[in-house]
Subunit: 657 residues, 2 copies
């Protein structure tokens, strides 16, 4: 009798493997296995376009967005390249699930070494551009080199070509979009582009698609500009294939049905992200006058409620999304703002508003249009201007330094004029165009104390004195201060709704927003993993629970139905950790370490109007929290370097130094 | 307008929270939320019985088995207690899913500080006892103290009492079971008990339920004996409540239908675990003569195939399991073996067979019955005897030491006589009853070189020279050498079927059984997490994929349907890591460290018949692999202590030292 049991062969083998791989009907997950995708490789120096079809295992490890971008950046690029040089890679990356007609799966990443921070640079944007790229046949694009003359890339239904953009150089984003659509003879072409600010290498120049959806942060627009790449225009008419189309349809339908039942989703439709102005004000953490205060006397005037009552023209959604959180405003007169440039998000209302002491909503809307017209990140722009305002107030800068401008808090016209000067690097604008870290260094005379940045990136409009998860989120974020690195455990959100979000991951202990103890570490790192896999899959956190209907189980089902992979929430959570860890390794390679994980001194101080003891951040809790955070991720607690063993666990042994 | 968006209140709030918690129909997971359970607390010194109803969050963090046992051991017991003293806790622990009528969810844990190793002691057993405990109304039992006289605990339908066991003391397990059933007037009472070996504190005495299902390892029977606790008898007639009974029924039905399609499941029915004898022999890693050889000339005679053709009387399954891997043998004559004591598993065929150079299947079956009759772990028993045999061969021991016995390899009757002497601690048996580490220490004269143990526990019947995942599994196992710490990446299992098992966790890269590189670390730790959550949920790894139909998605569905929790594979994988880490912390508290994670020197040497270079384990790859393993789990790479941050991540901040 020559039986052996271990060998699985023949037809029975087929059945078993099908069952185990999730192909046959073992839990309602009947679907085909397999994901094929294409990545465009564009060498701008040589004007050459290739394509790559990564192995399915590569797709499964990295999936899209941040992680897949990091895969290319780390694999193809040595450390130490000039962010504005031809060696820097610039990656546009959608994901394996983007383009499915389910609300919230729309976002794509642009990544490179950041000219603002020298660290990992990355920003995501919504809209329709990501799905359009997929329908044009590609998951992502990796640019290298520098074009000898201005070009744009035109991608359409599986084909791609570089086209001359000399005639577009220096033009506003609106004009460029019009011209490209005109010359391609298709008004439905989706254009992602840097603006004149990117051409001029403003260190926080952004990329905009359709004039209003921004890959805002870390200066990705400057990288485009440095490559002489003005735009990427895409048009796709291919129908995307899903492993289980019926299941995809069911999930999409369910999400649409559930959205109106979510109060936050309803509020996003009504007020957009500006809905956050008033509760932050009431909690005393609305960033005001360069983080000196947490309450702004003009808050009501710049709130979502006021916007809805006054300048709001329409609401818009991203691809397949019924939430419609996007604002379209219209202002006529002195502070005209045209609907095609959208309208200010919460971040912009605060950065150009309360942060600069400005309560003129129309002027902020106008400023928002300027930033979108020329391609500036509104957050960094506002923080740079507020910095200059405080320096003037403190006597560190005078009108002699500012081209005669009276840059005091609250000066609307000076703020608007500064936006223009930054975008075109005129006079004093040239200094602020280098980012607040570099500007403060050049000014000297104690200016650094007023430069609100981490790793060189200007702080977003959220004050950790009141939601302490942000302490870690800001300090450790690989891209410098960033507000979508992890969810904000906002005290004013009742009954810690974030818990509902991470309940399926087993995190069920309520946690206080002001906690920074080991209990917070558990909660923070889990939710950070969630938001990081969102960033790698292109998932919008406003469309996800607890704000809206996309719960973690539904998301997992969606990934299964779209890709056909026998995946699980485990795999997605690990993707989140992989994303965090790859970004950390990128920065380790660039020489960043523990010393670069800090908060500006000001955040350790009380607010002008006083900060209750429990809201204050102590240096001791900061140091302790950061160390626990490193350890939680399996990093060396002294220097924050991921260990070879944890890299191995994550399938990243190729990154062991 | 006083709108605030963040606050989720009223009826809409209800809907949202239901959706997010998984109550309403957002992905086919409609079910109620909630798990209630009871733990019996028995103080044997005082004869007092209480019950505890742990908070649901405690249930959700620990779930059952290993992890829940460790929760009680670590919470209630200080470090350094005498394993055989009254302070040692002895925990019997089922799980939140045990008792559901799905094949493979049957196992329960017995845990305490081990008298064999001084480290975490734990062993699982199948059969019907665990589900019976649940149907009697309890999830687990925590014993403390020492009864002034022999007792047994009788649990029946929500009640429990301690009863006199003086008349049972010293009796064979079969007689004890008969007497208890008789005096309780119910033949369906399930009895778990130590045997005379446990009473006599043999350091590797086991616990048996229904005479044949053993909590075999780490001497849990001795802990029972030391507590004067001879048995735990249970009878339950309650119907268990499940959150989604219809879904439970569907899963159960699906598993039953799928089992016959799995070749390994069919083979388990036909040959039981003895099916492994021949393929291990053919791979040259059948443990033979104290790990000197990997091929045994008598392998065929002791194989599953031979057993099925000769002494097999019947096959049996555990509660709700259609696989029927359990053997029932019948031998008459000199080496009589009665069916009520079951039949030898693979481990026993090897430990009393090839490991002692014995090819007499009937004698092994007889030895198996002796071990079950008196309550000895067959693995440790065989390893101790083989150790003595080698010491005799090497001249370290003579007949003067062994009560005149001719303990040479292959001497059937000496082997059987030794079992009796060990069980009753007679003469030379008293020395071997202390375990091979202690026996070798006492013998001296170089005997330690032949003592095959790790942390004091005798090695199971698997040779890492041929499946190198076992290198880490053995060395780092908290209970000492253990074969169910992590799956064996067996070279002879074609197409690395383990991959199919962990595919839903995203581990899809094929891995060679002889690999011990960073790639193996990824695979090993993930599969170790899987087997460790099996140990905490009481899941049988033979019922699970790749051997049989219980895939990870099905298991996750089962936990959801049974408990009503909005859980995921993520939470289960984390439970696995939590289990590993708690056990490590138990050992850290007891003073164990890096030095206790080792392999016996012999395993670094070639086998007698030679070992191909690629199968040999080098000290360098061992040291490197172990360090990577520590790091992978977020432990200090130098000393293997879990870091405060990783403990925090796992919700174990209460264990930070």
């Amino acid at each position: 009798m020559a039986v052996f049991a271990g060998k699985i062969t023949g037809n029975a083998s087929r059945i078993c493997k099908d069952v185990i791989n999730g192909k046959s009907n073992n839990g309602g997950d009947a679907m085909a296995y397999g994901y094929n995708g294409r990545i465009l490789k564009v060498n701008l120096t040589e004007g050459k376009i290739d394509e790559e079809r990564p192995d399915e295992r590569i797709y499964r490890l990295y999936m899209g967005g941040s992680a897949f971008s990091l895969y290319y950046l780390l694999k193809e690029m040595p450390a130490g390249v000039d962010p504005l040089g031809p060696e820097n890679r610039l990656v546009f990356m959608s994901s394996v699930i983007s383009g499915a007609p389910i609300a919230g799966l729309t976002r794509y990443t642009v990544a490179a070494r950041s000219p603002l921070t020298g660290a990992f640079g990355e920003a995501e944007a919504g809209g329709f551009w990501g799905p359009e790229l997929k329908m044009a046949g590609f998951d992502g694009i990796v640019f290298e080199g520098r074009s000898p003359k201005p070009v744009y890339l035109w991608i359409h239904d599986g084909e791609a070509e570089l086209r001359d953009a000399s005639h577009l150089w220096g033009k506003d984003t609106g004009e460029v979009q019009d011209r490209i659509r005109e010359e391609l003879g298709d008004q439905r072409v989706r254009v992602a582009q840097c603006g004149p600010a990117g051409e001029k290498l403003v260190r926080y120049a952004c990329i905009l698609n359709e004039l209003k959806h921004a890959n805002g942060r870390t200066g990705m627009g400057a990288v485009m500009g440095a490559k002489n790449l003005r735009a990427v225009a895409v048009r796709g008419t291919k129908k995307l294939a899903f492993a289980d189309p019926e299941k995809v349809r069911q999930i999409a339908k369910k999400v649409v049905e559930l959205i109106p039942q979510f109060p936050m989703a309803r509020n996003f439709k009504k007020f957009g992200t500006p809905v956050f102005v008033m509760p932050l004000q009431e909690s005393g953490i609305l960033p005001t006058r360069n983080f000196r205060a947490g309450r702004f006397e003009g808050a009501r005037a710049i709130s979502g409620e006021t916007m809805t009552e006054t300048i709001l023209e329409a609401t818009k959604g991203c691809y397949s999304c019924a939430i419609h959180c996007k604002r379209v405003v219209k202002v006529e007169g002195k502070y005209a703002a045209r609907p095609e440039y959208g309208g200010p998000e919460y971040e912009t209302l605060a950065s150009l508003g309360s942060f600069c002491g400005i309560d003129n909503l129309e002027a902020i809307a106008h400023g928002n249009e300027m930033c979108n017209r020329w391609g500036l990140d509104t957050i960094s722009t506002g923080v740079c201007i507020a910095f200059a305002m405080e320096c003037m107030e403190k006597g560190i800068l005078s009108r002699d330094d500012t081209d005669g401008m009276d840059l005091r808090f609250g000066n609307v016209d000076a703020m608007l004029e500064m936006i223009r000067k930054i975008a075109f690097r005129e006079g004093f604008g040239d200094l602020l165009a280098q980012g607040v870290r570099e500007a403060a260094r050049k000014i000297g005379r104690g200016a650094e104390a007023y430069a609100m940045h981490i790793k060189g990136q200007e702080l977003p409009m959220h004050d950790p004195r009141g939601k302490k998860g942000l302490v870690l989120s800001y300090a450790a974020s690989p891209t410098g201060a960033d507000h979508i690195e992890a969810p904000h455990d906002t005290a004013f959100l009742s009954e810690t709704p974030m818990l509902y979000e991470c309940n399926p991951a087993g995190v069920v202990e309520p946690i206080d927003a002001l906690d920074l103890s080991p209990k917070k570490i558990r909660h923070f790192v889990h939710t950070q993993q969630i938001w990081n896999f969102f960033n790698s899959l292109g998932i919008c956190n406003f469309a996800a629970a607890p704000y809206s209907a996309l719960t973690l189980p539904l998301l997992t089902d969606a990934v299964r139905a779209i890709t056909g992979w026998n995946t699980s929430l485990y795999e997605l959570m690990e993707l989140g950790e992989r994303t965090i860890t790859m970004a950390r390794m990128f920065n380790v390679r660039e020489g960043l370490s523990r010393k670069d994980d800090y908060l500006p001194d000001r955040l350790f101080e009380p607010l002008e109007e006083g900060t209750p003891a429990e809201k204050r951040i102590t240096r001791e809790e900061f140091d302790k929290g950061l160390r626990l955070y490193y350890e939680a991720l399996g990093w060396d607690p002294e220097n924050g370097v991921p260990t070879p063993g944890r890299l191995s666990y994550l399938g990243l042994d190729w990154l062991i130094l």
